[in-house]
């Protein structure tokens, strides 16, 4: 009994952290979602969320997140596959990871220079005769930069699951006369599905909640759920509505995790 008490005393800092920074914030967000702008208890925010304005915003946010995840996957999968076939694969992997450690803001800032009206991309377009285009503050630039930022996070889990793949299985497929494409479609891809799923997880949810890129790169043209939350909390000060959107984002997150994850047991 005595030992149990001392153990709980040891655990106190961690327990306090869990109460104050995990449980309390969720409870507070849910509580605030039921408060209207005057601080009265109501369901007004939820009614507002189901009006066309907010639903359209949520849908477009989904669409952008979907596109970003799709393009990241299309680029990351072949990259990871080729990386596993290089000689010093861990070193190459490290080189892929390093850019993801550079501050996000700096990378976004770099693209302001690259895509700007007089930027290097427009110089190139001019030189090959297409002429100057508006690139910054378009959907294209937003998706391009977001994909750029998320690629390393998509490559890492896919690389890991490809790395764990038993090469004998591929040899077996070859011996049994499968073409390269069949081997990929029937053996490699299904067996690395776990990596693809966790890659999609680490890209899709953050892509739904991006708000810094929408301002810097998309020039407020794109409004994601994240932008809306930020807007409500820091600009219009309507915390209730912001919390309501946050509640939906949390629900979507759990739904998405339930759809893609689940099979990770224990530690």
């Amino acid at each position: 009994m005595n030992q149990k008490v001392t153990r709980q005393l040891y655990m106190l800092p961690y327990t306090l952290w869990m109460i104050f920074f995990v449980i309390a914030p969720i409870v507070l967000v849910v509580y605030y979602s039921f408060l209207d702008i005057n601080g009265d208890f109501s369901l007004a925010n939820y009614e507002k969320f189901f009006t066309p304005t907010y639903l359209k915003m949520a849908l477009s946010s989904f669409w952008y997140a979907f596109l970003i995840t799709l393009f990241s996957l299309l680029i990351a999968y072949p990259t990871a596959l080729l990386l596993t076939r290089t000689k010093h694969k861990q070193l190459w992997l490290l080189l892929i990871i390093v850019p993801s450690w550079i501050n996000l803001l700096l990378k976004a800032y770099a693209f302001i220079g690259i895509f700007g009206t007089y930027g290097i991309t427009n110089r190139f377009l001019e030189a090959i005769g297409i002429g100057t285009q508006q690139i910054l503050f378009t959907d294209f630039s937003f998706i391009f930069v977001a994909v750029y930022i998320f690629i390393p996070f998509m490559i890492l889990p896919i690389f890991n699951s490809l790395n764990q793949l038993n090469p004998a299985l591929i040899d077996a497929a070859n011996d049994l006369g499968a073409s390269k494409w069949t081997t990929f479609r029937r053996v490699i891809f299904p067996l690395t599905m776990e990596g693809v799923k966790s890659g999609c997880q680490v890209v899709f949810i953050p892509a739904l909640s991006l708000f810094m890129l929408t301002r810097l790169i998309a020039g407020n043209r794109v409004i994601t759920l994240g932008t809306a939350i930020e807007q409500h909390f820091l600009v219009t000060q309507d915390w209730g509505m912001g919390s309501t959107i946050a509640v939906f984002l949390i629900l979507i997150m759990f739904l998405f995790m339930a759809l893609t994850g689940k099979r990770k047991r224990g530690v």
């Binding site: 153990r7 104050f20 967000v29 892929i96 501050n103 976004a108 770099a110 110089r123 708000f211 997150m253």
Partner: protein, 267 residues
């Protein structure tokens, strides 16, 4: 690279690497531009670096960022290690899984939600936004990462080690400091570095809880970048890039050394 790769695959990998690194080197390149823009390279200058080092406000912000990162990583590591040892000692499987899922909430939840909910928390608690609110938030989101880094090491440790120490007359404090902590030190190191990089990289959470008087580098770059291009940021990003590389190399070597120590049997 390996001979097994076809020229097309090699080309693909090279393109990916160029795209990943181009924006960073683009920033570095223009930090030496005397022209003052990110498109016409007029001549070599160190003017922007000089300006950077004479900007006391910015230097204070750099210092703030480092202090927050180091302190939060340190405190989060302590809390996280305690938490991991606690979770490890929980016998009941369902309870352990419940704690682990709560632990992971902050890892999977989007930055915006963390930022917004912490903002509500600090406001309700009547806590002044500033250095301490930023520090507390950074500790909060670093703790679960440390736990996840340390836990696998604890499971790697054979329980007979602890039993042997107890048989030889060690009390529980000695078991923790002389047996468990040395064994899991690679995990602790990894956790500390992850916490450090998370803190240095964080923008969204800090943006919500920073208030008026206090700023970190990410938040400062954001507000500078919204005003447009200024080559101070380029100079700053060059220095940060070098700093990141140093951090990666240090981390790599510490890891390497700990690995050889671990297998070589200490003392």
């Amino acid at each position: 690279m390996d001979q097994k790769l076809s020229p097309v695959s090699k080309f693909f990998l090279i393109v990916i690497f160029v795209i990943l690194y181009a924006p960073i080197f683009f920033l570095v390149f223009y930090s030496f531009n005397s022209g003052g823009t990110m498109y016409d390279f007029e001549g070599f200058t160190l003017e922007w670096y000089q300006e950077l080092f004479s900007d006391t406000r910015l230097l204070i912000i750099v210092l703030n960022t480092l202090v927050v990162a180091l302190l939060s990583a340190l405190i989060a590591t302590i809390i996280g290690v305690i938490g991991a040892i606690g979770i490890h000692s929980v016998k009941k499987r369902s309870r352990k899984n419940a704690i682990l899922s709560l632990n992971n909430v902050l890892i999977v939840s989007p930055d915006v939600i963390m930022g917004a909910s912490f903002l509500i928390l600090f406001t309700i608690a009547g806590y002044q936004l500033g250095f301490y609110s930023v520090l507390l938030s950074h500790i909060a989101f670093s703790v679960p990462i440390v736990v996840l880094m340390v836990l696998p090491k604890l499971y790697e440790m054979s329980p007979t080690l602890v039993d042997a120490a107890k048989d030889l007359g060690a009390n529980s404090w000695e078991v923790v400091t002389k047996v468990i902590l040395p064994f899991i030190s690679p995990g602790i190191m990894a956790g500390f570095f992850m916490a450090l990089t998370y803190s240095l990289d964080d923008f969204a959470v800090t943006f919500f809880v920073t208030g008026n008087g206090f700023s970190t580098l990410s938040v400062e770059i954001y507000s500078l970048a919204r005003r447009g291009v200024s080559l101070n940021i380029n100079a700053l990003s060059t220095l940060l890039f070098l700093f990141t590389i140093v951090l990666v190399v240090v981390y790599y070597f510490i890891n390497q050394r700990l690995k050889t120590n671990g297998t070589g049997g200490r003392k």
